[in-house]
């Protein structure tokens, strides 16, 4: 029954473009972009590692994809896989070093790596177009927003599926154990480094793929906007507002904050971000486990 409902919801998501206008489809597409980032961030967080590097891998994927299409004439659709692979490769190479770091040291190093990626993007101008960035003359599917929506939806659903697999298989036991107590975990036979590396590489690949989607949708990359801190801070906010350590939490957070920011803009053209900031603050103050976490807790308490 439950799976049947989920299937229905998925089908409805795919049929949505036939019922709503281009604007909402566009907004939903970018919500799903952020949703996938939020989930990938949360998946890393489930191991206890706070990554500030998601904007970096996002940008890396975006650049890889645009360069693949522009310089190597790879099909835009395949370029997304190329981007995911490239981000994964970089993560694999860096993982050997950064995954020995913990807490704020891991956080700041991943953040610094994002900046390093951006500096390379800006200074290797022969390959990347330098500060001006790189432009494709045509966006993916010739700019057909419904097809783009379907593509982004498929990727987002895949990410959700991966996140759920994380929650339902032995992976969950490994990464939660690492988060709770690394020493107890390794004395119970968990190969900590292997799982950290696995999650780091996988989430980086997701971030790379999502960056590629974004870049292909708008057909350009540019250091400042592609590596923008927004691609770190917004997904983080979404996951925390929705509720961390779950799949549903970041989804709820992304939808709520994504729609809220569009709506606020309408009723308050100037300074709507003040209200947005207040929403963040108030949600966390009064729902410290996030929306989903609070609901789950209430239900658990009633039982």
């Amino acid at each position: 029954m439950k799976y049947f409902m989920i299937a229905i919801v998925c089908v409805l998501c795919f049929l949505l473009p036939f019922f709503v206008g281009a604007y909402l489809i566009h907004v939903l597409t970018s919500i799903m972009i952020f949703l996938s980032l939020a989930l990938s961030w949360d998946m890393m967080l489930r191991t206890g590692q706070l990554s500030f590097g998601i904007a970096g891998f996002f940008g890396l994927g975006a650049y890889a994809s645009i360069i693949a299409v522009d310089d190597f004439s790879i099909d835009p659709l395949w370029s997304i896989l190329v981007a995911a692979g490239f981000a994964a490769l970089i993560a694999l190479a860096l993982g050997w070093i950064v995954l020995r770091l913990r807490e704020i040291y891991f956080a700041i190093t991943t953040l610094a790596l994002s900046s390093v990626f951006m500096i390379f993007a800006r200074n290797l101008s022969d390959l990347t177009g330098g500060s001006a960035g790189k432009v494709l003359y045509e966006s993916i599917f010739k700019g057909d927003s419904i097809k783009i929506y379907w593509l982004v939806l498929s990727v987002a659903l895949t990410v959700i599926l991966v996140s759920e697999l994380f929650q339902r298989t032995r992976i969950r036991f490994a990464i939660n154990a690492i988060r709770d107590d690394e020493i107890a975990a390794k004395c119970s036979g968990v190969n900590i480094f292997k799982y950290l590396l696995f999650v780091f590489v996988l989430t980086s690949a997701i971030q790379g793929a999502v960056g590629a989607l974004y870049a292909q949708q708008y057909a350009f990359v540019e250091p400042e906007s592609t590596f923008s801190a927004n691609f770190l801070l917004l997904p983080m906010s979404m996951a925390l507002v929705g509720g961390i350590y779950s799949s549903l939490g970041p989804i709820i957070g992304a939808v709520v904050l994504g729609l809220a920011s569009e709506y606020l803009k309408l009723i308050m053209p100037y300074g709507h971000l003040i209200i947005y900031g207040l929403i963040l603050v108030l949600t966390i103050m009064f729902l410290p486990r996030g929306i989903y976490g609070t609901v789950v807790n209430r239900i658990a308490a009633k039982r």
């Binding site: 300074g271 900031g277 103050m285």
Partner: protein
Amino acid sequence: MKRNFVGYVVLAIALFLIALLRPYAFFYGVQRGSLYGLVALPLALILGIVGLLNLAHGEFLTLSLYMTYLLFTKWGMDPLVSPAVTVPLLLAFGFVVYKLVIERSLKTHHLNLLLLTFGVSIVMVESLNIWWTSRPRNIYVPYASTSVNIFGVYVGGYEFLYTIAVVLVLTGLLLFLKKTRLGQATYAVGQNPKGAAIVGINVKFVYAFVFSLAAGLVALAGALLSVRSSIFPQAGGPFTMKSFSLTAMAGLGNLPGIVLAGIVLGIAEEFVKSIPGYTGWADLVFFVVLIAAIVFRAFGRREG
């Protein structure tokens, strides 16, 4: 111990060589680095004691810049005098933010605090933007652009105030933490809040105090910076991550290390900038030195 010593010697030689080869880069690096350190110290204090990374740190700095500006334009108060007013104001502001937003969330997941301060920073930036618009403001005082002659090298003099200030603030903080009762209480709370409570320390008060003190120190930095920097809603923002970087590079709880890290990074940056054709890579040096320092320290630990 021995390895540390060798490291410091190598560092000292490198800095000396830079001073010899590129005196401008050396002096400017010291100045900039002192500024970074001055702004980073309060952030490190909050991070070390309360265990909270204050993402609104830079916005506190912005606020103090605007306050100094206001005092200067409305009442003609000299920016070097204005800390007398802005420090207490920021102290109070820090206290209010702590009481309203932070205190009740201290017991929840530590990431919540991160997000709360992020929310505070958005609200602050946007409020300043509504009030003052995005147009930069400036304070002009002639003494901010005077030059001094050091061993035949003709460099800007004003920014040495950063160096003086950071030395004073650091010494003051260290003395405070070591020698005073409240300082020892602060240090104790940073290590074990529960243990602090059972020896009679008012932990909530210490937290509020640290938060306010940090905000007050930011106001001091803001006053010094105000005459050299443009004042606009995002002016302080980039300092948050720079301060965080320095804190991580020095290691938590190592206040003198932050100033040292600031100066090393400042000199490294200025050194690269002074090489024609490589100016654009200065940021890379900053991050590479940062990552190298953190990783090097992490690999110093040997564990199974």
